[in-house]
Symmetry: C2
Subunit: 95 residues, 2 copies
């Protein structure tokens, strides 16, 4: 692989990681704003949180620190989305 090709790969990988990490922010924001998560799947977030936990462990075992960083931040955000889903699972808890 040439040097410039390698640079493109790094840019695409970085963009991919940023999209993965930031993807949970609009969902968290939407739940908090509308105080409703009734149509969000709890099972989906249980699996997503498990996935990022396993990817983080995988990264630690391989000493692949960019993988650890991207997946631990994603884990934090997906965990926040899961907590929001749980709190507003049937809409506004005070309603």
């Amino acid at each position: 692989m040439t040097g410039s090709m390698n640079g493109i790969v790094v840019v695409i990988g970085t963009l991919a990681a940023l999209c993965t990490i930031t993807s949970f922010v609009p969902q968290i924001w939407k739940i908090l704003k509308e105080r409703d998560a009734s149509s969000v799947s709890l099972r989906m977030y249980a699996l997503t949180v498990s996935a990022f936990t396993l990817w983080t462990i995988y990264g630690v075992m391989l000493k692949a620190w960019p993988l650890v960083l991207a997946n631990s931040v994603s884990l934090l955000l997906a965990g926040t989305a899961l907590a929001c889903k749980w709190r507003f699972r049937n809409g506004e808890p005070d309603a």
Copy 2:
């Protein structure tokens, strides 16, 4: 890394990939069953689909075929969830 350690890494990576891939299935199922995706974030799925597209391109450029396989299947399922969100974005389209 010893041989048995390497085996554990492969098992954890495989479990992580399976959790990522299968995570979208309960969300798709829930939307189709309830015919409602009002609290699911469209922006989240737009970012998720972008992320898997970029990860697939990244895998192709690195000729990392397990990465390509896992991310292209995830792309297909996240794309299906995005389409379900779009169709039922305000609840039942016929209502």
